[in-house]
């Protein structure tokens, strides 16, 4: 890197640029964190405190944001009175379940697609990914009919299947990329040594395992954050956190305190997962097109 720095002589412009850069980053960090911060703070505030605003232009009054008597009553309300424990469990089971189903079905399909060439393969591949692109609103009614006829409305298996509808195409697409990067030679060698095809597949699984691990986390993220499916297919019987949070918007009483607490409960686990798979996030969110 040394050679790069030689070219950089400190000039006035450069210094101004440096300060501007720092200011920009600082501003951006505030912009990113402020909504989250207000959400967390409000979740610990009594409603009357949460609704306190300084007068317009009273910058000193901004301290109001931080001056309050912390209370955990909103969290107590969620978990003691409102069954959020169950909803948390539902969110967990549905998103994890769907991630696992997707990874099992997806990796076999992706492996086959990776190893086999046939006419129309590209069309098939495009069709697979296009099932994920369809606007959910457009197909919700027929999907409901299908789920209804299978008696899956309002059940966790139903919700797992619903999440799988968008996680599976994603799984096939991404995992195929992983398998493409494993030379066929390894399986070939194994099979020459007398392994069966399935044994050979098992042999290469460790090579794609890290990718699969990260990918499971991504599927969990997608399922966890879903609202529309949970609201319609989950339909009360399998209520997840986002759907339960929306129900706190009541026509006569928007329970802002509890909403902020529910927001925090929904968001915090995902923040941790985000940190955990930070480096795979790009690949995941661009369907494998971009990798770090």
């Amino acid at each position: 890197m040394a050679s790069r720095e030689i070219a950089q002589y400190p000039t006035a412009t450069r210094r101004v640029l440096g300060v501007a850069t720092i200011l920009f980053v600082a501003f951006y960090l505030i912009w990113t964190l402020l909504p989250l911060l207000i959400m967390f703070l409000s979740s610990f505030k009594d409603l009357l405190d949460a609704f306190q605003l300084p007068a317009t232009g009273d910058w000193g009054g901004a301290a109001l944001l931080f001056t309050f008597e912390p209370t955990t009553k909103h969290y107590q309300n969620l978990f003691l009175d409102l069954n959020f424990g169950t909803y948390l469990g539902n969110s967990l089971i549905a998103s994890l379940g769907s991630a696992l189903v997707s990874v099992v079905l997806g990796s076999t399909a992706a492996y086959a697609l990776s190893r086999l060439d046939f006419r129309g393969k590209n069309d098939l591949f495009f069709w697979i990914i296009s099932t994920r692109m369809a606007p959910v609103v457009a197909v919700l009614v027929p999907l409901y009919a299908i789920f209804r006829s299978l008696d899956l409305i309002g059940t966790l298996p139903g919700l797992i299947l619903a999440y799988t509808t968008f996680n599976l195409p994603f799984a096939i697409w991404i995992l195929k990329g992983f398998f493409d990067n494993v030379p066929y030679a390894i399986e070939e060698a194994a099979m020459c040594d007398g392994s069966t095809r399935l044994q050979a597949l098992r042999m290469i699984m460790p090579l794609v395992a890290p990718g699969i691990g990260a990918f499971i986390v991504l599927c969990v993220l997608f399922g966890w954050n879903d609202y529309l499916f949970s609201s319609i297919i989950g339909s009360g019987g399998a209520k997840t956190l986002p759907a339960a949070t929306i129900a706190l918007v009541q026509p006569q009483n928007i329970q802002w305190g509890s909403i902020m607490a529910a927001g925090a409960v929904t968001t915090v686990p995902m923040l941790f997962l985000g940190v955990l798979i930070r480096r795979y996030l790009v690949a995941g969110l661009t369907m494998g097109a971009v990798r770090e």
């Binding site: 990113t32 909504p35 009273d58 086999l116 990914i129 692109m133 195929k176 070939e188 986002p242 770090e292």
Partner: protein, 337 residues
């Protein structure tokens, strides 16, 4: 290449004869174990097809029936209780010509997406350039990606709280700086759209930053340095060396965001529901209203098909981009010949 060709693992995603030849050249990144088919233990096609079947069946189940249903519905006036569906001579489609909300919906969707894209790409790339190779890169990236982890519906609720005219902190902030009158962001038909754009920018700029960072990591150092020795400033350096490297990725990101804007309206439904005065009534929101508030399933299906069509076209472009040979070479870290 015969029908039984086996992917050697050299190219991505599929193997073409050229790719095999390319890969076999010594400039290649990995060793290629390419052998004539005759040496391979005969792979059974049935084995592979069997492996695919469960996924294909599942996906077919959830996509083919809804698609046929959509087409059927779009050609009919869907009856009320006990009434049969009536064929209506494409009226659901011809009415687009006079349906102001439909046309307005497309315009707004494009306008909204375009605004989001310009801001997200501008901010995201700038941020990535600053963060790239900064000592704090890892730490800062971890922080700025937080909004992406939030459920859109929760993000919508939080921003609704922030924008509120009676107790919203952002309302207070905007008023205090003097850019907002007594009317709140979401209550003004001229600025409500910007309010929605801000939420999208807040949530999804990090994606562009991450993608750009990934692209920047791939810019060959020697080229940058050579350029600098030639006396190029950082800006020219960025435009002539870095940008060509990251632009294919950006294109993909932009397309993906476009398609997501078609699919996810959670936050918009919560924030404005399309109002005020239709100022944010983008097509997916309109579609939601037609299908689930008016229950005009036929009309809704026709609207949905237009949305689906555009999505599929965008999707095809996207897949072409995935296969862009130039980009592929970059992915594998090879220089262009």
């Amino acid at each position: 290449m015969t029908d039984q060709a086996i992917n050697t693992g050299a190219g991505r995603p599929a193997v073409s004869p050229q790719a095999v030849v390319d890969a076999a050249r010594p400039t290649g990144v990995r060793q290629i174990d390419y052998r004539p088919d005759a040496f391979n233990p005969a792979p059974s096609r049935r084995f592979y097809f069997l492996m695919m079947t469960p996924s294909i069946v599942l996906l077919a189940g959830i996509s083919i029936y809804p698609f046929i249903w959509l087409i059927y519905m779009s050609l009919h006036t869907v009856g009320e209780a006990g009434q049969p569906d009536v064929w209506n001579d494409f009226k659901n489609f011809t009415r687009f010509a006079t349906d102001g909300k439909f046309q307005n919906g497309w315009l707004l969707l494009i306008k909204y997406s375009a605004m989001c894209m310009v801001l997200e790409v501008g901010l995201g790339v700038l941020l990535a350039v600053i963060l790239n190779r900064s000592k704090l890169e890892k730490f800062l990236v971890t922080i700025i990606l937080m909004p992406m982890m939030m459920a859109p519906i929760i993000a919508g609720l939080v921003w609704l709280f922030l924008y509120n005219g009676a107790f919203g902190w952002y309302h207070w902030l905007l008023q205090s700086i003097g850019i907002l009158g007594p009317t709140s962001v979401l209550g003004d038909s001229d600025i409500a759209m910007f309010g929605l754009v801000a939420v999208d920018v807040w949530q999804w700029t990090p994606l562009i930053t991450l993608i750009t960072l990934a692209g920047l990591k791939r810019v060959p150092q020697d080229q940058l340095e050579a350029n600098m020795v030639d006396g190029a400033g950082p800006l020219r350096n960025f435009i002539s060396v870095a940008l060509p490297n990251i632009y294919p990725f950006l294109l993909i990101a932009v397309l993906l965001r476009f398609m997501d804007n078609f699919r996810f309206i959670d936050a918009i439904l919560i924030l404005t529901g399309g109002g005020p005065a239709d100022a944010t009534n983008m097509l997916p929101v309109y579609l939601f209203d037609v299908s689930f508030q008016y229950f005009k399933l036929g009309r809704g299906a026709a609207v949905a098909l237009t949305l689906l069509l555009v999505t599929i076209v965008l999707g095809m472009v996207l897949v072409k981009l995935f296969e862009d040979p130039r980009r592929k070479i970059k992915v594998h870290g090879r220089e262009e010949g």
